[in-house]
Amino acid sequence: MSPQPQAAVGAAVPRVDARLRVTGQAKYAADNNPDGVVHAVIVDSGVGRGRITGIDTRAAEAEKGVLKVISHLNAPELPPVEGQFPPGKPLQPFQDDRIRFFGQPVAVVVATTLEIAQHAASLVKVCYDAQRPATDLAAADPAGEPETYARGDADEALDSAAVRLDMTYRTARNHHNAMEAAGLVARWDGDKLTLWEKSQATQYTAFGMSGALGMPPDDIHVISPFIGGAFGNAFSTWPHSVIAAVAAREVQRPVKLALTRKQLYFGVGYRPAYEYELSLGSNRRGCLTASAHDVRAETSRYETHIEDVLVPGRMLYSTPNVRQAYRHVPLDVNTPTWMRGPGYASGAFPVESAMDELAHELGLDPIELRLRNEPADDESTNLPFSTRRLRECYRVGAREFGWQRRRPKPRSRREGDWLIGMGMAAGVYDTARSESRTSVRLDADGTALLQAATADMGAGTATSMTQLAADALGLPMRRVTFRLGDSRLPPAAGHFGSQTMASVGSSVQDGCDKLRRQAIELAVGDEESPLHGVDPAGIVVQGGRLHVKDDPARGETYRRLLARNNRTHLEAMGSYAGAPESAKFSFYAYAATFTEVAVDARLGLVRVRRMVGVYDAGRIISPALADSQALGAMTGGIGQALLEHTVTDHRDGRIVNANLADYLVPTHADIPELKAIYIDGEDYEADPIGVKGLGEIVLVGVAPAIANAVFNATGRRIRELPIKPEALL
């Protein structure tokens, strides 16, 4: 804990880059137009599986302004890549004639203008030897060894349970659909490659591209100061990025390549569809005795996507006997990836729906059932919880939401055509941390510059880091600048997995503490300083002025101190080692989401009327930003629960709603008043700044809370997301 007074941390401050974002001056990847830039458009496969038997590019090449058409017939050979995360062989573009999924890139057209490239791409004729692809999770078999977990004897305990429920839940494939489509500008200068790329982790991107192109990562400079949303799909190395780099090398010009909205549905990853069989056993008092979880998830044939879908089912509630199996079903699809609340948001739907089903079966209040199964420690690791304030989340949420007005009997409240119901669900998300460094420099003019190769996809990283740094350095926020989004900055945690604040923030704190102590040491050792000889531990800095904590009149400014000592600047490197190898605690953030829905009794239409989320996310650095993230996640959760569904035509593997008119996402009119509450508290076991991460936890539990409210409104238990009107008719 810092000895410094807190002024910026905990204050609701405007974003440091707000002006750039509201005036259109923020430069996102495809906003860059370097001299001589030309445009690339990808030609997508029109079949879902098979081989290319011929490509006719003559008409495309005959178009004036077309510089090059690249396909597997003439593409440069790329090194084979062995992927570890996810395991498999990432798709290297244009290396053979095989079609692995509908929409796979089969050629790219490079032309002087976007219009010419688009038209010429439509003129490329591709012939295929097509086979019927397998794209239906429900109709395909798993492969490889399942991931399993067990404690006790779940099957025996289920057989002897006083109450046993057996359910199957399904969740649809979801696409991130960030407003900014994946895209980049690639420019070669000799052997050096510059990528203006949307990237949640510029150094991961440089590393991934170095493998794909067979060149040293240091020769790749990735620049990504602004990201138009990502939610998890902007740190893997996707084929289109490799294509842009290859195209730029081939035509010796900078190349801009932005995927179309349609191409995002197969050009980048997605939240995979799941089938989740869940059996619960309990005694009559509602104490869980056993649970069995059999999960099937879609993945591609060339990579195995893995995420923590099983965790909520093994540690959220006290359960002596648990058996879990997670099986991968390889399909003729592109590889899934992490999407906000990865795994947890998918696993929470069955687990939290099942708890609601059990509460109904036993005639217990859903909160009371959860309280009866609140574990003393993490039963999956036998570790104590660092902090777990889930009980408090329930209590505060129930009070703020007015849970006592819920009628336990389903379908017992009606307003005209509308059936009204209330539901709640718990959520949990892992507190991830990784190694990070941040450089800190204080200049003689009393301004500070911090730099770290992290990113901001909308959370407000630069703002919250500036808040932390301002307090740790004792400067007003306006004198602190935080730079991110550039692979040449000090290595830092990528902006994913809710780890940014814990990881990068801890290195910011460390660097600023070091620098402040340097300045204090300089002052106490300086005979001309009013602080000469003072115990350094008794000195704080406020408003750029060092002073004795108990005697504010005695002190001087950074500027005077540095000027008198002929120092142009002070600098320090902040570092954070990341999570220790062997944990002494179980680290998670928690949530309780409450919602009220109205269901049109005749049309099956579900409208969310209000929602309250209560979170145990540790210390909150930036309350306004934390609030925005939570409201945004509730909005996303409403989409996951009621709207979002990628629909594949299994006859040929094409996605039939690959656009924003048919893949429904929430709009203004779908979203009522939402309220987020963060429980006071900090977790200094988790990291030096006491945070537990909040970008994901705010989503986990939203969808099951809505499903449970729909049950309370209608008496219909919908075990499939999204909950479509036809399921309620």
């Binding site: 974003r15 974002r21 509201v22 038209h119 656009n659 203004h668 779908d670 979203i671």
Partner: protein, 212 residues
């Protein structure tokens, strides 16, 4: 016919007829006849390749339009949308391409005072039009009240839909569709925000409407 575009009393450009106007027809003929001249009215240096593009395609037209108060005469590929004109030729990249199909609103600009999806608006149909983009909203350093309201309310996260939300919000206020939270939500529903800032965008529009 092209003068209709400057008259806000008639149909917005997105709804006007698609037949080439006399003026665009003549411009097309000129381009087809030889080297394209952009005239002397190009007000900003063009970073893109307007002239080269026109020279390389037979499908060019000469169009004069005003963007943020600056008159531009450009010879432009007939297929070029207003959005691509702004982004790729005039270096006004504040207007964003979210879906390029009129479904998300990230490209919203004002044409003759009305909000339109610039991705669905062909440049060749805008001869004589007045276009306002996000870059043209502030008066020098003084932000438009809705821009300030977006900052005050933290009505954005990633900021990518923000230019379109703000342009749409400005029009929403001007149209008077701000009588209630529900009305604002309804009339702002053409603008998707995937970060989910709707609650705060509605408050920002409310704040601005209240000042009027």
């Amino acid at each position: 016919m092209s003068t209709e575009l400057t008259d806000p009393a008639v149909s917005p450009p997105a709804e006007s007829g698609s037949a080439p106007t006399r003026r665009t027809f003549i411009a097309t003929t000129t381009v087809a006849g030889g080297a394209a001249l952009a005239g002397g009215l190009v007000a900003v240096p063009l970073p893109g390749s307007v002239e080269a593009a026109a020279a390389e395609t037979p499908h060019g037209s000469r169009v004069s339009l005003t963007v943020n108060g600056v008159r531009h005469t450009v010879t432009i590929d007939n297929r070029t949308s207003l959005l691509d004109l702004l982004r790729e030729h005039l270096d006004l990249t504040g207007s964003k391409k979210g879906c390029n199909a009129g479904a998300c609103g990230a490209c919203t600009v004002l044409v003759d005072g009305r909000r339109v999806n610039s991705c669905l608006t062909l440049t060749v149909r805008l001869d004589g039009a007045e276009v306002t983009t996000i870059e043209g909203l502030a008066k020098g350093d003084r932000l438009h009240p809705l821009q300030q309201a977006f900052i005050d309310q933290d009505a954005f996260q990633c900021g990518y839909c923000t230019p379109g939300q703000i342009m749409s919000g400005v029009a929403c206020v001007q149209e008077g569709h701000t009588g209630s939270a529900e009305e604002i939500r309804e009339w702002m529903s053409g603008n998707i925000c995937r970060c989910g800032c709707y609650v705060k965008i509605e408050r920002a529009v409310q704040q601005t409407a209240g000042r009027k």
